[in-house]
């Protein structure tokens, strides 16, 4: 099928099978390899992207169900070459080690920062994202630091 969707603020038109995973469409058709495949069964959250602003496991989204919708990947968080405050906080606080979980972790954290009512705390917000390297302490501190900085800088709503 011809699939029209919006990826990181830009219109995209790709030819794809309607049941192809959104994960594969992003990596193969769109060339956006920042989205990682971890388990491929919806358990680990490495492939998290935002679909109309909501975090989803892109390995469990058939391409056809992304038609006409807005997708944000890790590549879409930078603005004019500058890191998003959440990305900056993960770098500063050491919230990453091997890096496979990091794009999904950051997108889930950004979704929560934009809508704090979606989860009671950072633990619930990131419960769908597994990290096998660092443990979660530095990841959680990175999210807390980003929230603090955003409050100071007033850029919590930045795309």
């Amino acid at each position: 099928m011809k699939l029209e969707l919006e990826v990181n603020g830009r219109a995209a038109l790709v030819e794809t099978h309607p049941a192809k995973r959104l994960l594969d469409v992003l990596r193969e058709e769109c060339g956006l390899t920042g989205t990682k495949e971890g388990c491929g069964e919806g358990e680990c959250g490495a492939c998290t992207v935002l679909l109309d602003g909501q975090p989803v496991m892109s390995c469990l989204v058939p391409a056809c169900q992304a038609e006409g919708r807005r997708v944000t990947t890790i590549e879409g968080l930078t603005l004019n070459g500058e890191l998003h405050p959440m990305q900056q906080a993960f770098a500063t606080e050491g919230g990453a080690q091997c890096g496979i979980c990091t794009p999904g972790m950051i997108l889930a954290a950004v979704a929560w920062a934009r809508d704090r009512s979606s989860a009671a705390d950072v633990g619930e917000a990131l419960a769908g994202n597994l990290c096998r390297c660092t443990g979660y302490t530095r990841i959680f501190s990175a999210v807390a630091a980003a929230l603090d900085r955003s409050r100071v800088a007033g850029e919590g709503e930045r795309q």
């Binding site: 049941a19 358990e43 469990l60 889930a108 979704a111 769908g128």
Partner: protein
């Protein structure tokens, strides 16, 4: 991704009539028709190459199925594509049907709740479903549609065996009706798994208890998951509780009665013995402290 995409056709009707007509003509063909809602269950075997070739019937372009949940007095109607997040975000659901929110919060994680549907949780017919016990505790009713017409089935009568149901191959779940219990009802939900989220239940329980001014139980519903081939209503436990005050003897008797309601097995997630003990324990907690 181990499936061959070429083995799967995807049909995307834009009206319920079109979907039902397609299901009716394709139902008997090899592979049949598989309704595709949030894909969070279906795409797991699909990704693993364990889903037999079939025609996927994508329901996302059907307005009747995608419309928001609707309140009609004390009746709450979920449509086929309504997600667990839809329930979590409706403050009225939290007040009046708190078990739906409690179940939604512990099902998968946010990424799953944003896509997974209540109807899909029923259609998948897994005994470990987390949404089903909450719906059963509220005595929900499933509405099925086909070219032959519509019918309503009490959720308790929907499941006929492990991953088996009364839904015919040409039928779709179009809605689920849930009725708000009387004022003063106590609501109980408890999921026991390896971790709080992203865990498939070892045992999951949901119940509602209503009592009169004298403390006598007037209505009790208790549903248990992961302890039988289907999610069950603990009818023996309920029968012990109704008509009595909750005292130590009643709690003891109710806890023992649960063994008449369940048939747990050993599997990769837990054991028969553990599940029996936890089921008994959950009955005690339900009867004694009924609270979400």
């Amino acid at each position: 991704m181990r499936s061959h995409l070429a083995d799967f056709e995807v049909v995307r009707p834009t009206s319920l009539e079109e979907a039902l007509a397609f299901a009716s003509t394709q139902a008997r063909k090899p592979g049949g028709v598989t309704p595709l809602a949030g894909a969070t269950d279906l795409f797991v075997p699909f990704n693993a190459g364990q889903l037999a070739p079939t025609t996927l019937l994508d329901l996302h372009r059907i307005p009747e199925l995608t419309q928001a949940p609707r309140w009609d007095g004390d009746l709450y109607r979920l449509h086929a594509l309504n997600t667990f997040t839809d329930c979590r975000r409706d403050s009225l659901v939290g007040e009046r049907l708190p078990l739906l929110v409690a179940a939604a919060r512990e099902l998968g994680a946010l990424q799953i709740q944003n896509r997974a549907t209540w109807a899909g949780n029923i259609a998948n017919a897994s005994p470990a479903a987390d949404g089903v016990p909450a719906l059963l505790a509220y005595e929900a009713c499933v509405e099925l549609a086909s070219v032959r017409g519509r019918r309503r089935v009490p959720l308790e009568a929907y499941f006929t065996g492990y991953k088996q149901s009364v839904r015919a191959a040409d039928e779709l779940i179009v809605a689920i009706d849930v009725k708000v219990p009387g004022p003063g009802a106590r609501h109980f939900f408890r999921k026991v798994g390896t971790r709080r989220m992203q865990a498939i239940s070892k045992v999951v329980a949901a119940g509602v208890l209503e009592r009169d001014a004298a403390g006598v139980v007037t209505r009790a519903t208790l549903a248990l998951g992961s302890v039988a081939p289907v999610t069950v209503r603990a009818r023996h436990v309920e029968a012990v509780l109704v008509g009595r005050r909750i005292d130590d003897a009643t709690v003891e008797e109710a806890a023992r009665a649960v063994h008449e309601d369940i048939a747990p097995i050993d599997d990769i997630r837990s054991t028969r013995v553990y599940r029996s003990r936890i089921a008994e324990r959950l009955v005690r907690v339900f009867a004694a402290t009924v609270t979400v």
